[in-house]
């Protein structure tokens, strides 16, 4: 009996511990909601850099190639990512820009244009980031969640799958997939706290139901590769370790676009390094050449990133609200 008691105490503690956590969070003062801070133009440079991902050694089978440089590149680029990138479902699922930029017919009926579509996805990306900051998960979880959300909307309509529910659900699912589960009730708690708007309010049950629908919409492909993975090694190799923070921020911002659905993650990382080298006026041409990647592709991505920052200046709160309003409007 005494032993049983002992067990029970541990178990009860396990059951209750989330509440303790919640209680701690509650006491903390969280900053008020500033609508203007959401689209901070220089977020690439102001975002704090999360700790870099831990790096493991490289499986020996993947280190074959010609030059030493090339070997290095092979060693820390896609081949070393969790499963082999080139055989992964992520690689097989990469889409063309034209396929991503398709507004679902149901959404079109509500008058949602391609620009609205992109705006809503951007808005929801920010929503996920905000939520994630509160429930305290790592950047990789955020990146996975945003990828899930963007992938889901290549197949599903926003009318049927309300973004305000899909966004937190994607974060919930991503936290499970990345082995750092967040309790659904914690998410619901913070949603209530962050948004006074009734339309954002969803209950645990609805999140759990949506989780299944998202799984279905993703066709059960859950492994996502991110540009962060190889970053520190790449930067060391390029002699740009001082720009780590800036590049990390740039990569974070790429999730506000659909790049992750279109290009392999290592090219996105290289494009961010490319942009950063331009800013820093550092000539990395020879380093890039040694990598034997398609530089046209890297430049194309870099241009898209720069275009995005230009476009970003034109976004206003009203535009986003108008787009969101179209979603809710009944015809």
């Amino acid at each position: 009996m005494i032993q049983d008691m002992h067990q029970s105490i541990e178990i009860i503690y396990l059951i209750l511990s989330p509440f303790f956590k919640l209680f701690r969070h509650k006491k903390k003062k969280t900053c008020a909601f500033h609508p203007h801070r959401r689209y901070n133009l220089s977020s690439a440079f102001s975002l704090p850099s999360p700790p870099l991902p831990r790096w493991c050694s490289v499986p020996p089978s993947h280190t074959t190639g010609n030059s030493k440089k090339w070997r290095n590149f092979c060693a820390f680029l896609p081949a070393t990512m969790a499963t082999d990138f080139w055989t992964s479902t992520h690689y097989k699922q990469l889409l063309d820009q034209e396929d991503v930029d398709v507004v679902h017919s149901l959404d079109k009926e509500r008058g949602i244009t391609l620009e609205d579509f992109k705006l809503i996805k951007l808005h929801m990306t920010n929503y996920i980031v905000r939520l994630a900051q509160n429930v305290k998960v790592r950047q990789r979880v955020v990146a996975t969640a945003v990828t899930y959300m963007r992938r889901a909307y290549t197949r599903r309509s926003m009318v049927e799958y309300d973004p305000r529910l899909v966004a937190p659900t994607c974060l919930y699912l991503a936290s499970k997939a990345e082995e750092s589960t967040v309790q659904a009730r914690l998410l619901v708690f913070y949603i209530k706290k962050l948004y006074a708007d009734e339309k954002y309010r969803y209950e645990i049950k609805e999140i759990l139901e949506m989780e299944m629908k998202i799984l279905e919409a993703l066709n059960y492909y859950l492994v996502v590769f991110h540009p962060y993975r190889a970053l520190s090694q790449l930067l060391q190799d390029a002699g740009m370790s001082d720009a780590t923070q800036m590049i990390w921020g740039l990569i974070n911002d790429t999730y506000k676009m659909d790049l992750i659905l279109i290009y392999p993650p290592h090219l996105i990382a290289l494009a961010c390094i490319y942009v950063a080298s331009m800013f820093k006026d550092k000539d990395n041409t020879s380093w890039f050449e040694q990598l034997r990647v398609d530089m046209n592709m890297v430049e194309k991505i870099a241009t898209e990133i720069l275009d995005f920052y230009d476009y970003h200046k034109t976004i206003s709160e009203e535009k986003v609200n108008a787009a969101m309003l179209k979603l809710t409007m009944r015809m």
């Binding site: 303790f20 969790a82 992964s88 997939a177 589960t181 759990l208 299944m212 799984l215 492994v223």
Partner: protein, 549 residues
């Protein structure tokens, strides 16, 4: 559409859920339940469009705690969607029933698993497994594991019941690694591996885990393979430690004791990182104090120390995980280069003269439909370990609730009885082909397949089909043989009423017990100045109160 589970059942099993039956179910013919575990149930089904193809469908229950899809299911889907290999079980499809929020994983069905094969040899034919079969199984197992490890996937729950072997058909005798519920990608983890709690079933758990190592590697899988290898040779689990249940850490003194008795005492000279393992330091008098005799692994496995098989085995059971042989190295080992050479069909040796052992097919409980209508027990028993090998010793942070502890014994008995009844019915139906138990006169494809093995199956039933976590089996078998004479002694109706009474009585006691202990604990926390009572309820339901304040 036909629902085999119901139509061949006892008739008392009403088809409540036919109205919410999801569309995808139409493509399968359900044959019956073949297993049960913590996660849910496993069913055998056939694809309607291709009758020759059997599918094992693993149903994940929605957890009651509001946690959505279980992390076990997420891991399994995530990994199995990415990987394809001959020696890894194939995930054919995933289905969702949105109405009851359950998730179904459809796998290629494998008729045998190592647990059943070993048991068949030990208990029925009393003969060692053919060396060709042992070698082929081991080679394929290592081949699959090498693939997983080179993709940075650690299995973390290898045991005989999780190693499947394909039955008759195109892939006959091919080994498949199954149950990825504890598996995870270990490259660049966001959280330390240790956060996942206790991994690997105790008998196959490596010494670094037992001693509390937090940064374990894929070498834990190789230790398990070593244990399985020895078990294939001797038909007995190599290290049968008594598990101390419900401790939240992986340390198990008896298991270590069993290992040290066979392999000798580990030393810091041979295993330098040993000194850093938590339990090596803390449990001085137990572990370090006790002196063990010289190692005698070869006498336990009856192999000469010069035998390459022994050499390979001892390298797999190397104490130091960094010196332990890897899957890739093991595949290159001399053992696999000498006659008999390993082959793709592990069950049938290429030489025509060799005797082929006919392994029994899996028993199917045809009374249970997809909703699991006949098996509502809230216990976490695993009967036949099918796709997943059932019960994990203690899955990720899901520490068993107190009610499981208290009610375990009685629940087990009831479930056994029920299982027995179910199997009894199933075999009657199979033999009659259209008797009283099968009023619809539906052809029983399963029954035909099972007929040659009828006798064996009945024997199997007697010595405890529907067996839960592997290490407990001995005590359970004894209990069963004294209490149940033959499955035929019970009728289904009789059992049902009997069961219902005792089940609810037990349940009530457990609930009362849980309530009281909860209350006591809450009081305890209050006294420790951890606020529990009014506030915990307050915080637990923020929707109702917090928002207005």
């Amino acid at each position: 559409m036909s629902n085999r589970g119901n139509s061949s059942g006892s008739g008392s099993n009403s088809n409540i859920s036919s109205s919410n039956r999801p569309e995808w179910l139409q493509q399968y013919d359900l044959i019956g339940k073949i297993g049960e575990g913590t996660y849910g149930l496993v069913f055998l089904a056939k694809i309607k469009s291709n009758r020759s193809k059997s599918i094992a469908i693993k149903k994940f229950k929605q957890s009651k705690d509001g946690d959505g899809v279980s992390p076990t299911a997420i891991r399994e889907i995530m990994l199995l969607r990415e990987i394809t290999h001959d020696n890894v079980v194939k995930l054919v499809n995933v289905h969702i029933n949105h109405i009851d929020m359950s998730l179904y994983l459809a796998f290629d069905y494998a008729e045998h698993d190592l647990y059943e094969i070993i048991r068949h040899h030990r208990d029925k034919v009393n003969q060692a497994i053919n060396p060709y079969t042992v070698k082929s199984i081991l080679w394929q197992l290592l081949n699959g594991l090498n693939y997983l490890h080179s993709n940075w996937i650690m299995h973390r729950d290898l045991k005989p019941s999780n190693i499947l072997v394909m039955g008759d058909g195109e892939e006959q005798g091919v080994v498949k690694i199954a149950d990825f519920g504890l598996a995870r990608i270990y490259q660049a983890p966001l959280k330390p591996l240790f956060d996942n709690g206790v991994v690997v079933t105790i008998w196959y758990r490596s010494p670094e885990l037992l001693l509390g190592g937090k940064h374990y590697t894929s070498a834990v899988d190789m230790w398990a393979v070593g244990c399985i290898f020895a078990e294939l040779l001797t038909l007995k689990p190599l290290f049968q430690g008594q598990e101390v249940k419900a401790t939240p850490n992986p340390f198990q003194l008896d298991q270590l004791d069993k290992i040290f008795k066979v392999l000798g005492h580990p030393t810091v000279e041979k295993w330098p990182t040993l000194a850093h393992l938590p339990h090596w330091q803390t449990d001085q008098q137990h572990i370090q104090g006790h002196k063990y005799d010289s190692p005698g692994l070869y006498s336990v496995v009856h192999l000469s120390p010069k035998n390459p098989a022994y050499d390979l085995l001892s390298k797999m059971l190397e104490y130091d995980p960094r010196k332990r042989i890897t899957a890739a190295q093991a595949l290159e080992h001399e053992y696999f280069r000498m006659e008999p050479l390993p082959g793709r069909n592990a069950l049938v040796p290429p030489q025509p003269g060799e005797k082929i052992v006919n392994y029994p097919t899996r028993p199917v409980d045809t009374n249970t439909d997809f909703e699991g209508t006949t098996s509502l027990q809230p216990t976490q028993q695993a009967s036949g370990n099918v796709v997943s090998g059932g019960q994990h010793v203690m899955p990720t942070r899901n520490v068993p609730r107190p009610m499981h502890m208290a009610g375990m014994q009685r629940m087990q008995q009831q479930q056994q009885q029920q299982n027995m009844a179910a199997y009894g019915l199933a075999s009657q139906a199979a033999m009659g082909g259209g008797g009283a138990m099968n009023p619809g006169n539906i052809p029983m494809q399963r029954g035909v397949a099972a007929q040659p093995h009828q006798q064996q199956q009945q024997l199997r039933r007697k010595d405890g089909m529907g067996m839960p976590g592997y290490p407990q089996q001995k005590s359970r078998r004894n209990k069963e043989s004294t209490e149940v004479k033959s499955p035929r002694d019970f009728t289904f109706e009789h059992l049902k009423s009997e069961n219902a009474k005792t089940r609810y009585a037990t349940f009530g006691n457990i609930l009362l017990f849980t309530e009281i202990t909860t209350f006591i604990c809450l009081c305890f926390f209050e006294t420790k100045r951890i606020p529990c009572f009014p506030r915990s309820t307050f915080i637990a339901f923020p929707s109702s109160k917090v928002t207005n304040s």
